[in-house]
Amino acid sequence: MKTELDEQAIDPGPDKIIAPGFTNATVTDKIAGVVLKPIQTTPKQWWISLFLAFCLMQGLMAGAFWLLYKGVGVWGIMIPVGWGFAIVNFVWWIGIGHAGTLISAILLLLKQDWRTSINRFAEAMTLFAVAQAGMFPILHMGRPWLGYWLVPYPSSMWLWPQPRSPLVWDVFAVTTYLTVSLIFWYIGLVPDLATMRDRAKQTWQKVTFGMFALGWRGSARHWARYQMAYLLLGGLATPLVVSVHTVVSFDFAISMIPGWHTTIFPPYFVAGAIYSGFAMVVTLAIPTRKWFHLEDLITMRHLDCCAKLMLGTGLIVAYGYMMEAFMSWYSGNPYELFMYKNRTTGPYAFSFVMLIVCNILIPQSLWSAKVRQSIPRLLFVSIVINIGMWLERFVIVITSLHRDFLPSSWGMYYPTMWDWAVITGTIGFFLVLMILFVRVLPSISIFEVREVLHHLAPHMLDDGKPSPSPAHGD
């Protein structure tokens, strides 16, 4: 059944998390519709962006091939700058991959009802971002085909990974995070997959959705189990939000390089991660809701909340920068002091300045509701923040390394075309996955929206009928 809402959707504004006039049925129709609508009616923008993203992705393919063929020397890395874009990108993507779990887990536990429309979407983004990040530790190795040596297994050499190295902790942290996020996301999908199965017209759709729905029937027992499982996973995922980027920050904090060796890294990395995560959510939510006319489900309220979160985490990040500056002076350590001088006035000063502009100055505009509630401005700010967070990692990795203790071994790092190919390539890859996702899976959790609907029932339903149970509709 079709509703007029399908064609053009009205954003109810910053105080409502769902537009008026929705019934369980219409919600289901709308969201399922996005997925099940016949291929011809897929919006043109979707096809175009998919194509562009795919082209971008080829950069990664070519870059990775050339890298494996010739060696990491195709990148700009050298001594003293042994880590270049690869690690910058790794940290950046991992950071982006934080919003999802935060929304799903922490906001779930905090019972933030506004999370519902965007959590599924954010979780998918998390997965895809972590997938991008996961490639880099392998690619950046001198001998990637021996990467499995970082995994503890009974080898004929009687050797194990070296447990004191943060890189080994990374292996565990990232893989754990990936697994938990994946399960979390999938569990959340199950009821909706069932809905899809039931609404799908073609058999192949029925079967595919059916297989993944694991025979969900929406019985009370199912729901009870489901709720429990979801809650448990939420509890399990929550510490990960903090742990992953803490461990990643150890890659730097454990070392003794001025600019890396600092205790503030863990909290400030985590904050930065969430910061960039939400920026990415916003960056992706805005076009999606436009293409599929979901303004009435992903409302200004959601964007507004994200914006406020960005502002908050942004301030924490700013505090982190201040502390770095302060400590480099307060520690009285000449190397620290020099590091900061070099960071701010050295050959890479431009990146630092841009970083401050992107991550601190421009986001301050989010104080104003005008910016938070204007789509173009918000989109602009969120993109700026993404760039800023990438620059932050650039500043940390490159400017700290290129001038450390002995002036004799100082050097300059210049990225090669292959460095650029790989970063843009991963962005392309990420977008491809994302774009496919919004088309083939319900990018908004149907049943959770209904649940919300249920909570808000009295005000929502004009015809005063009691709303149907949030269970499997029709």
Partner: protein
């Protein structure tokens, strides 16, 4: 590779059988003409050698590698390919499979020999070291010697006799030479010319002289582009005849160098550096002695007893024995204090290692130095008026007079004869002759004025007086003065035979090119700086059928079948009890009592000397620090060697002072157009602090066109500006900024220490007040002692450590090449170096301090510090770098996955990474030079200094077998072994008698960046300066 046509040998044999006598030769020649032989030969000698600069081959090779590595990736554990063992059919007696052999030989540069010990594995020479028994070496050698072994394996070497560019045979060449002789003999030698480099070989000289006796008309010319012309002319001025000057810096307390870089080049530089350094080893033991040695297990006898062991003692070779300790460090307990220090004044235009060691470096333009010398000379005289131009002269003169007989004045090879004459006069005036300076007859067999000699030859060739010329090495077409236009003249000669290692610029113009046998492939004899004769003995049969000058001359003399071995032996037959003498000489590497006796000569009062007109810009020609006169241009190790003064690789440049740079409105890497005597050359600029103003130094040897894959088209050919009228340069240079920008590949971009106390320096007086100055930061705060929660690891048994005496290190960089040769370190090429990816395990950091017109110059060799708290070990995810029981920081290539985290975390940045496949796994001949005891690293692994673990293991295994403790000095890492000044000491810190332990107990001992608490095993001894108080305050 193209298909090899089958060579029908039967046909050829048939032809040969039918031929006899001279006809036989003739038919051989014809044979050489037949196209199947041509094809065969060409294919045989075709140059299929890739090169790190040659993308085509690299790409092809990487394709193969890429495939196999990908495979290795897919199948985790690849099956090893089957390997064959190929034993001897008849095994030589002295040969033990898997054990190296050591041979004494000698290498000559500019005619001056240095005695060497060459290591040989399975008949492959792999490493060159100094011969401790040779007076000019005493165990040390410089980077030319070390790199010479690479030249021997150079795939670009001439691999066949060629006649007008076509492959021919030695026999055919002999025929040609014989006929040339016949032709000349008719005119009793007229028109036959021989052009050699400086010849000191008694045998070769005897041969040539004999030949000239037969053919009185023939002439012998010599030319050496960077020889000792000025020294000879100078001594002729002073004494009326050329003499050989020998200095004794171990007797000299005050040294005045007039633009003489005696520490890093020229005859005797190695021994001079050693003598100089011995006078600077200031010692003061501090109260705290090195940690007591852990008690050694029972049933294990104590103490040294390093056998003067058979070769099986790994690296303690027959001729080597325990390392020679400097006089200060004696066997009993601790070294006596020494608080005296020589003082050196260096007057020079462009910075040299010698200038870097100076206590007072006076920057003058090259042409002003003669004036300075005059002033100094007059100041030494009675009642001399103080020179108003040179403030310091008076003080220096007083200092010299205060040390009569214990001072020395040295004139530089690039200074005009008059300066040398003045130096001789001053030494005489100061009563130094017989004490710090002695004279002998020239070591050259025939000390002619080579520049004149070459000029004559060219004139004669132009005049058509020369029918046939035999050139024995030297590449004159490239190196001759530009105005002579040697190439054009040479073309006028119709028989041009040329013997050389490479098909170089001269070979192209020769109609017969004979591949020369490398010195490691040939028998010869040659004189050292003091005249001592060494026998050059081969370690391997000529790789490419090369011949020696001896054999060429023999052929000319009508003895085509004499080998160099016969000729050399014959020359010494007259020795009593020849066989014993011969064996002895080969074993020792020197012939007993062949050093030339000192002679008595008195210097004439020098000509008052009108000092050269001093105006405008000046140009100075110098041999390049790394590739000398260009003869080393195709040697990758030397091309990639960071030149001591500016750490630049793979290039030469115009050095100018900052002030001059401002004046010319150029900066480093800008192009500068030099116009000199009507010739122009555009060269990139290097702004060199401490260079004289209004003066430009250009280095010879670059811009080769026929050097080989490595050397071709590298740098700029300064010979194009060098004329016979001004071989050392002079005034009248015009320079202006030219468009364009150039990129240098330098291994060090920061010139100063940025105010960090990396090289710790004090004057002698400060040191006497506070010997432990190194332990203090500014405002006299001692460095806090760091503490750790963990108990220190107790090193049972051995505890390896190293000290580097910054007061002895002259920055000569021999250690770098020694390490490269010992540890199979690859050459990566200019582009990679520019990216910051050079691979040298030990580097010599160079820092300027003070004002930029005349800064102090400090050198600091930096190998791996082998920290006890090594930051690299902590962060390696796969434990590829860990600590060993004797305190070494181990790097295991085959475990490394290449995260580069260790390098990031290394505060000394001594780790090197194989960003791509740098080791050449493809060129067959280069495999020969590799040290079989060191893994050849592949792509994607980290590497670094190991303290030469292969040497440690070899000696340790030997000592274990002999159930004894390793004696001090038995293990010497390659860097320490090569070091001319013994600035690097290595040994067991647990043994308080060891030299290294004693040095670590010195007051001057400090560790680099100790505030990081990395506890380096490599520590430094602080640098001392001994300025003249008079000048210091003035």
């Amino acid at each position: 590779m193209k298909e090899k046509p089958a060579l029908d040998l039967t046909k050829i044999r048939a032809r040969l059988d039918s031929a006899r006598g001279p006809l036989y030769w003739k038919s051989l020649e014809e044979l050489a003409e037949t196209e199947e032989f041509q094809a065969f030969a060409e294919d045989e000698f075709a140059d299929r050698t890739p090169d790190w600069n040659n993308p085509a081959n690299r790409r092809y090779f990487l394709k193969l590698m890429g495939a196999s590595l990908a495979l290795a990736g897919v199948t985790a554990c690849t099956k090893q390919p089957p390997e064959a063992i190929v034993p001897y059919v008849r095994q030589p007696e002295e040969f033990v499979p898997g054990m190296p052999l050591y041979y004494a030989t000698a290498m000559q540069m500019g005619g001056v020999a240095t005695g060497l010990l060459a290591t040989s594995y399975l008949g492959r020479p792999t490493k060159i070291e100094g011969n401790p028994d040779h007076p000019g070496s005493r165990g040390a050698c410089d980077y030319f010697h070390l790199a010479s072994v690479l030249t021997m394996y150079d795939p670009d070497r001439a691999q066949a006799v060629s006649n007008n560019g076509r492959i021919s045979s030695w026999v055919a060449a002999q025929v040609a030479l014989a006929s040339a002789r016949e032709a000349a003999a008719i005119k009793n030698g007229d028109g036959l010319r021989i052009l050699t480099e400086t010849v000191t070989s008694p045998t070769l000289a005897a041969q040539i002289k004999a030949l000239l006796k037969d053919l009185p008309g023939a002439k012998w010319h010599q030319y050496e582009p960077c020889g000792r012309h000025n020294a000879h002319l100078g001594s002729t001025l002073a004494f009326g005849r050329p003499v050989n000057t020998i200095y004794h810096f171990d007797q000299a307390d005050v040294i005045v160098s007039l633009d003489a870089d005696f520490l890093s080049c020229g005859p005797g530089n190695l021994i001079y550096a050693r003598q100089f350094a011995d006078k600077r080893r200031v010692m003061t033991n501090v109260t705290h002695s090195p940690q007591p040695k852990e008690n050694w297990q029972e049933g294990y006898q104590e103490g040294p007893s390093a056998p003067r062991a058979s070769q099986s003692a790994g690296y303690a070779s027959e001729a080597r024995g325990p390392v020679v300790l400097p006089p200060q460090v004696q066997a009993e307990g601790k070294s006596p204090d020494q608080t005296t220090l020589n003082r050196m004044y260096v007057v020079e235009p462009s910075p040299t290692p010698t200038g870097g060691m100076a206590d007072h470096r006076i920057v003058l333009r090259a042409a002003e130095i003669e004036e300075f010398a005059l002033a100094l000379n007059t100041a030494l005289g009675p009642g001399a008026p103080a020179s108003d131009k040179f403030k310091q002269v008076a003080a220096i003169a007083r200092d010299l007079q205060a040390h009569r007989g214990a001072s020395v004045v040295v004139a530089g090879a690039n200074q005009p004869p008059n300066v040398h004459a003045l130096a001789h006069a001053m030494n005489q005036l100061l009563g130094n002759v017989g004490k710090t300076v002695t004279y002998t007859d020239p070591i050259e067999a025939n000390p002619v004025d080579q520049r004149q000699s070459l000029a004559e030859l060219t004139a004669d060739m132009n005049a058509g007086k020369v029918d046939s010329i035999i050139i024995l090495g030297g590449n004159p077409v490239y190196a001759a003065p530009a105005d002579l236009n040697f190439a054009a003249a040479l073309k006028k000669v119709n028989f041009r035979a040329y013997l050389s290692l490479f098909l170089d610029e001269t070979a192209v113009l020769a109609n017969w090119h004979l591949p020369e046998a490398h010195y490691l492939e040939s028998w010869s004899d040659v004189r050292g700086y003091d005249g001592t004769v060494s026998i050059v003995q081969p370690l391997i049969a000529p790789l490419y059928g090369g011949k020696t000058a001896h054999e060429v001359i023999a052929t000319l003399a009508g003895q085509p079948d004499r080998t160099c071995h016969d000729l050399v032996q014959e020359n010494w037959q007259n020795q009593s009890n020849f066989d014993l003498f011969w064996q002895q000489s080969l074993h020792d590497g020197v012939l007993k009592n062949t050093a030339l006796p000192a002679i008595n000569v008195t210097a004439k009062a020098p000509a008052s000397g009108q000092s050269a007109t001093v105006q405008g810009l000046e140009i100075i020609f110098r041999p390049d620090p790394a590739i000398w006169d260009g003869s080393w241009a195709n040697n990758g190790w030397l091309q990639e060697l960071a030149k001591p003064q500016n750490k630049m690789t793979w290039d030469n440049a115009a050095w100018i002072s900052p002030t001059t740079a401002q004046k010319l409105n150029v900066s480093t890497e800008d192009m500068l157009e030099l116009k000199y005597q009507g010739r122009t050359l555009t060269v990139p600029v290097w702004v060199m602090p401490g260079h004289a103003n209004d003066s430009v130094t250009v280095h010879l040897g670059y811009g080769r066109t026929h050097a080989g894959h490595t050397g071709d088209g590298v740098g700029f050919n300064a010979y194009l500006l060098r004329t016979s009228t001004a071989p050392d340069g002079g005034f009248g240079l015009e320079a202006q900024k030219a468009g364009g920008h150039y990129h240098f590949a330098s291994t060090q971009h920061t010139q100063t220490m940025e105010g960090r106390d990396l090289v710790r320096v004090a004057t002698l007086d400060e040191y006497k007040k506070n010997p432990q100055f190194v332990d203090e930061r500014e405002e006299g705060k001692p460095i806090p002692q760091y503490m750790t929660l963990y108990p220190d690891y107790r090193y049972q048994g051995y505890k390896w450590g190293m000290t580097i005496d910054l007061n002895a290190c002259v920055g000569c960089s021999a250690c770098i090449v020694a390490c490269q040769a010992e540890n199979n370190i690859p050459v990566v090429g200019k582009i990679e170096v520019a990216r910051g990816r050079h691979m040298n395990w030990i580097r010599v950091d160079r820092y300027f301090k003070g004002n930029w017109d005349n800064p102090e110059l400090y050198y600091q060799p930096v190998p791996c510090m082998h920290c006890e708290n090594a930051p690299c070990e902590l962060v390696c995810p796969v434990a590829a770098t860990v600590h060993s029981g004797d305190g070494l920081n181990q790097m295991i290539y085959n475990r490394c996955v290449g995260t580069r985290y260790c390098s990031n975390n290394c505060p000394y940045k001594v780790r090197r990474f194989n960003f791509m496949l740098y080791s050449d796994w493809y060129t067959e001949s280069l495999k020969g030079v590799r040290n079989p005891n060191v893994t050849v690293r592949s792509r994607g692994v980290m590497e670094k200094c190991t303290y030469c673990i292969q040497r440690i293991s070899a000696v340790k295994i030997q000592s274990e077998k002999e159930n004894r403790r390793i004696a001090d000095g038995e293990i010497t890492p390659a860097c320490a072994q090569a070091c001319p000044t013994q600035a690097i000491a290595f040994g067991d810190i647990n043994d308080p008698k060891s030299r290294v332990a004693q040095l670590k107990a010195q007051a001057r001992n400090y560790s680099l960046l100790e505030e990081l608490n990395t506890r380096p095993r490599t520590t430094y001894l602080g640098r001392l300066r001994n300025p003249n108080p008079e000048i210091e305050k003035g």
